[in-house]
Symmetry: C2
Subunit: 463 residues, 2 copies
Amino acid sequence: MTSVEEVHAAVEAADRVWQDGFDPVGVLRAIADRLETADLLGVAERETRLPASRLRGELTRTTFQLRLFAELVETGAHLGVRIDRADPDWPMGAPRPDLRRVLQPVGPVVVFPAGNFPFAFGVAGGDTASALAAGCPVVVKAHPGYPELSDLTGELVRDLGVVTVVHGEEAGRAALTHPLVKAGAFTGSVRGGRALFDLAAGRPEPIPFYGELGSVNPVFVARDAAGSRARRIAEEAVASFTTGAGQLCTKPGLLLVPEGCAIPQELASLELPVAPMLSERISEGYRDAVASVPGDGVTELVVGDGPVVLLTDLRRVLGDFEAFTRECFGPFLLVVTYAEDAEVVEFARRLEGQLTATVIADEPSGWVEELVRVLARRAGRLLWNQWPTGVSVTHAQHHGGPWPATTAAGSTSVGTAAVERFLRPVAYQNFPSDLLPGVLRDDTRAPALVDGRFTEGALTMRW
Amino acid sequence: MTSVEEVHAAVEAADRVWQDGFDPVGVLRAIADRLETADLLGVAERETRLPASRLRGELTRTTFQLRLFAELVETGAHLGVRIDRADPDWPMGAPRPDLRRVLQPVGPVVVFPAGNFPFAFGVAGGDTASALAAGCPVVVKAHPGYPELSDLTGELVRDLGVVTVVHGEEAGRAALTHPLVKAGAFTGSVRGGRALFDLAAGRPEPIPFYGELGSVNPVFVARDAAGSRARRIAEEAVASFTTGAGQLCTKPGLLLVPEGCAIPQELASLELPVAPMLSERISEGYRDAVASVPGDGVTELVVGDGPVVLLTDLRRVLGDFEAFTRECFGPFLLVVTYAEDAEVVEFARRLEGQLTATVIADEPSGWVEELVRVLARRAGRLLWNQWPTGVSVTHAQHHGGPWPATTAAGSTSVGTAAVERFLRPVAYQNFPSDLLPGVLRDDTRAPALVDGRFTEGALTMRW
C-alpha cells in the first residue's frame, strides 16, 4: 500500500507538472504505442479471469481512445474557444469589451479505475486519457482487482511524468482530499462512489467528482417485435446480458415483454454461457444479489451457477419497485411481462436515473413515442433495436445519466466529450495578442465562435 | 413566508411543466417585454436604496439578457448537437452505430437571487433566464432585501407558468431538498453558499449547485504604468471600487502597486463618493469587515463613513495572508506596495480562486507574462488595462472561477454559456428519424458536429 506521504509527494509533483504544462498529444500517443508493444495480456488474464479475446478487444479500444483524444487535442476543438471582439454598440447598455474565452486544465486529477475493464477503465483508460487530453496530470488509485497490471502500466508510462499509480483505500482518500487535487473520476458501485463523492464535496474546497455508478438498463419490447421475432430477441438478450459474465455497467438487467409472448419460453430454452467472474468476492456479491430478489410471484426460467433468468409480471414489480429495480452486477436478467401499455409508461416514469434504456419495436407507435419521451428524462442513452452493451467511443457518445447512474448527470465518461470534465473556462478581456494563448489570437485555427458565429476554422476539425 | 406545503406544490407544478415542455423563446421574450412596460423602478429604489440611474441600466441589461438567450435558443446552438452516423469501419474494433447527442433540460431549478442586483440577478435575472432558456421551470427563493419587487416580478410573469416565487429560508431549503428539483443556482456570500451547496450535495440524490460566492479581485499595477499614469489609475480604481457602493462581486479589493509610486498619494487626494448601502445589516457587515483588517503596519489613506482605503506593503500581506485577502463587501480598497516582482508572482500563486484578476501595464514584459500565466490558474476572467466591475453579457464572457469564487469552477453565471448549467446530454442510438427530436435529424439546422466535423448549419448561428 502507498503511504500518505508518498501520495502527497505524487500530488505535489502532479501540481508542478500542471503548472508547467505538458504536451497532451505526445503523451497520449506515446501511451498508446507502448500499450500496444508491451505484453500485458497474460497478467490481465490471470488477475481478472477475463478471456484473452475480450482483453485483446479492450486493449484495441483503449489505444484507439488514446489516439482519438490526441486527434481531438490537435484540432483545439475541445477548448471551446469563443471570441467576442470589442463592440461600442452592444445593445446591453454598455460597450462590449474584447473578450476571449478558452478552456484550461483544472489541475491534478485522481482516477479510481473500474474492476471490470482493466484496460479501457484501467490506469491508462478513459478517465486517465480524458484528464491527460485536458492537460491534467493524473494520480491513479489502482483497482485492487489487478494491482500487478496497474503497476506494470504505471511503469510503462512513468518517464512521461504525468501518471502516478498508488495503492490502497487510504491512499485514494488521501489523494482525493489533497488541496492541490482539483477533480476526481470513478467507475464502480453506488456505495463506493457515494462515499468518495461525499469526501470530494465535503472538502474545505469542494471539487467535482465524476462517478459512474450503477444502472439496471431496462429493455422494453413492444408487442409487434415480440410477435414477429421472439426467438431473435431472446438470443440477442442473452448475448447482451451474459457478455463479460454480466459484469458490464450497461448490462440489461430488466426485460419488459408483453404478456403471452414467446420470449420467456425462448429464453428458457437457450443454452447460456457460464464464465468465471472477476473474483470470488464479486461472485459472492452476485449470488447474494440474486438471492435478494423477492421470490413471491416470481418464476425461475434459468437457474444454476452462472446466468440466472427470473420471470415476474409488471404489477408485482410496481408493488415492490425498489427491490425489483436494484442493479445486480453479474449475468442476471429479470423478465417482466406487462398487460397494459399505460403501465409500462408508469413504470418508466418511476425509474431512477439510468445509463441506458432500450426499446425493441418493429414500428414507432404513439405509445412508443410517449415511452421514448419519458425515457429521455431518465436515461443518458436511448437505444432503438440495438442492445446497450458495447459502448462505442465516438464524438456523439454519452455514457452517463441522472443519479444513481452517475454523480454528475451532465458529464460522460466515454467519448470525446469526456475531456470537458477536466477543463474550466478562462476569459481574457482586452488583452494584447502577444499575451493571449495562441488559440485565442485572431489567426486561431481552432474551431471558434467569433462574434456569435462559428468561423471557417471550425471546418478544419474532422476525424 | 411560504409554507413547506406551498413549496412542494410549486416544485410539483414545475416538474409537470418540465415533463410537458414549454417554449423558452416565447417565455423569455414575454418576460423581457413585460419588465420593460411594468413600473418596477420605484419599488426597487425604495427596497434596495440603489439610485434610479443604476437600476435603469440594470433593467436594460436584464431585458437584453433575456432576449439574447431567446436568440440563442432559436439557433439551437446551446444544444451541443453531435451526430455520428453509422460507420462499419470505425477503427475502435467494432462498427460504430448511428449516435446522436443533444442537450436536454435537467428538470426544475431553484434560484437564490442576489441582494445587490434586484433585476440582473433577481427573480427574472441571469440564473432564471438561463434555466428557462434551457427549458427548466424555476422556483425562485426571493431575496429578503427586496421582497415586494420579487413578488411584483413574480406576479408579472405568473400566467406564463414557468416561474414561482417563494419566501423564507425554510422555503428555500425545502425547495432545494425536494427530490424533483434537479439543480440550484445562487449568488451571495461564501457562508450562505456553502450551506446550500452542502444541502444540495448531501441529498439522497445529490444535485449540482451553482453558487457564485466571493472574490477580492486583485489588480496588479506594473512599474511602467504606475510611473506613466498614476493619477489616471487612481481615478479609475476609485470609479471601480466605489461603483454601487462597492457592493459588486467584481469589486477590486486589492491594488498592488510598486513601492515609491504616486498612486497612494493620488488616491488619498481624491474625493470619494458616499452612497447608502443596501441595508443596515450590510452596512454593519461592512464596518465589521473593515475593522477586522489588521492594523499593524497599515496606514489609513481614506477613512470615514463611506469608502475606506488602507495602505500596507506586500511583505506584511504575505505574513498574514488570509486576514489581508478576505473579501470585504463594500467600498473598501487595500493598497499594497511591492518591492520585488518575484514577490508579486509568489503572492499570485498563493491566491484563492477569484472571479477576476487585473493587470494594469504599459507594455508586456517577461514578468507580466509570468504573472498572467499564474493568474490564469487562479481566476475566471483576466483583464488587461480595464477594470473588473461591469460584466458584459456576451458569448465569450466567463463569470466564475475556482473555489471560493464559485462552487463549480467550470460554470459561468453571466453570458450565454450560463445556459449549459441546466442541460444534460442524451444520446439516441440507431433511432428512426421520426422518433428523434427535430434537431437531431439529418436536416437539422442547429450547429452540429457531424462525423467529427462542424456542418455548414453551424454557420447559420449569429447575433
